[in-house]
């Protein structure tokens, strides 16, 4: 049985420690915010110039000049700060953001990430992804294990144009949690109901199985 999108987001939320400054990418990564426990003190960064993203506003609270990187209307938590794009990327590039969680189309065995060029579609641009993957202290990619047509998205070498080279630390998919290590891809957790054989079948690169392998808990 594979994880739903919400469950992937839920598992990804477990990566966040109290005291972290975190950047969440557009799409499923944004959902991760819904699963951060209230007792953890976490500050979410929005690369358009805000530390301290709050929940979506109530209708009466909407401010057209307060948005996240996905251009959605948001609110600020108490203690937030606002700044320019240069400042925003200085804190990203300078290693001040503890964790970046973003989506992926392909991740290679060496941690290369491809996520900015969709095959067959007009290229929209990298946005802030190339800066984030090279700047954040830790980069976690969340994605489906295979593409819609069943092809593995974890591969020996990426075929799509890269977003960053050797930048990914951990991959969380609907089937597994995998770390990129100096020895190769290490399987840390496997989805309930999945077997190692299924997983190897669905993965386009060698997997080293962690002796402490466990089931994903969400």
């Amino acid at each position: 049985m594979s994880l739903t999108r919400e469950q992937i987001a839920q598992r990804a939320a477990q990566e966040i420690e109290s005291g972290f400054y975190v950047n969440l990418g557009i799409g499923i990564p944004t959902l991760v915010a819904n699963y951060i426990p209230a007792d953890k003190h976490v500050v979410l960064q929005s690369e358009n110039g805000l530390l301290g993203i709050g929940p979506y506003p109530r209708e009466a609270e909407i401010d057209p000049e307060l948005i996240n990187a996905g251009k959605e209307t948001i609110t600020m938590i108490p203690g937030s700060s606002l700044f320019s794009s240069a400042e925003s990327f200085a804190m990203i590039r300078g290693g001040h953001i503890n964790l970046s969680i973003l989506g992926g189309m392909e991740v290679s065995a060496r941690g290369d990430l491809a996520n900015w060029v969709v095959p067959g579609k007009m290229v929209k641009g990298p946005g802030g992804a190339m800066d984030l993957v090279n700047g954040a202290k830790r980069v976690v990619v969340i994605m489906d294990h295979c593409s819609k047509d069943g092809a593995p998205k974890i591969v020996k070498n990426c075929t799509l144009p890269l977003t960053g080279k050797q930048v990914v630390h951990r991959i969380i998919t609907d089937l597994a949690v995998i770390d990129v290590t100096a020895r190769g891809l290490e399987l840390k957790e496997i989805a309930p109901g999945s077997t190692l054989a299924d997983l190897r079948q669905a993965t386009g690169a060698e997997l080293i199985v962690d002796p402490g392998l466990k089931r994903i808990e969400v």
Binding site: S46, E47, N48, G49, L50, P55, Y56, P57, R58, E59, I62, D63, P64, E65, L66, I67, G70, K71, E72, T73, I74, M76, L82, F83, S84, S85, A86, S88, F89, A90, I92, R93, D112, M122, V123, K124, G125, P126, G127, G128, A129, M130, D131, N134, G135, P161, L162, T163, G164, K165, Q166
Partner: protein, 229 residues
């Protein structure tokens, strides 16, 4: 000396072929009245440096429709069908820049730094043909500064000396662009007398701003209206 009475007066010396920076992220913090002014003026073959290119019927998207843009320098141009059509037809030149690199290239331009090394883009097609240099065992790509003939910025409050204050996430690219423009034009919602702004809280010092125009009726269109249930 810096105050202009109208947008048209503030941009009357812009010619065809100019390079123009326009602030904003998505539709927030864009100089919407100055963009409307460019549309009225009809100057062509413009190079526009801006994080995005508006949407089809609003903001920089309107200058695409009117065929006034020859080249776009941006990090993301996703929300625009006309952009796609012109680009695929070879009518529009496009330079993609990673967002942080774009912000820093503009900052460098205004700060007198000709180029800098950044890790963003190393090993990707955006670093192709650019110098790569290793520092402490890590590779970086050399990126050059950006400047513009004109920078268009949008501020919440400004004074007659050109000091500016931005509201919330409308700050984004505006401060760096203000410094990187040979002529910087600020459209402000509220124009104040000198001394009315608290000097402790000025975002853009007036030295960077050559012209200020007060505008009313900003649309501030919302791209994705999301509310909590």
């Amino acid at each position: 000396m810096k105050v202009r009475n109208s947008i048209d007066e503030a941009i009357n010396d812009i010619r065809d072929g100019a390079t123009i920076m326009a602030g904003g992220f998505g539709l927030v913090g864009i100089p919407e009245k100055l963009i409307e002014g460019l549309l009225r003026k009809g100057v062509k073959n413009l190079t526009i440096i801006s994080n995005n290119c508006g949407i089809d019927d609003y903001a920089l998207g309107t200058l695409l429709r009117s065929r006034q843009i020859r080249k776009m320098v941006a990090s993301y141009v996703g929300e625009n069908k006309e952009f796609e059509r012109q680009f695929l037809a070879g009518e529009l030149e496009l330079e993609f820049v990673p967002q942080g690199t774009l912000a820093e290239r503009i900052r460098a331009g205004g700060a007198g730094i000709p180029a800098f090394y950044t890790p963003a883009g190393v090993g990707t097609e955006l670093a192709r043909d650019k110098e790569i240099r290793s520092f402490a065992g890590k590779d970086y790509v050399l990126e050059t500064a950006l400047r513009a003939d004109f920078s268009f910025v949008k501020a919440w409050k400004g004074d007659r000396a050109g000091n500016l204050v931005y509201n919330k996430t409308s700050c984004n690219f505006n401060p760096m662009m203000a410094a990187a423009g040979k002529v910087t034009v600020a459209e402000v919602e509220e124009l104040l007398e000198i001394g009315a702004l608290d000097a402790n809280f000025i975002h853009t010092p007036g030295v960077y701003v050559q012209r200020v125009v007060q505008c009313s009726g900003h649309e501030k269109r919302i791209e994705r209206r999301t509310v909590s249930s």
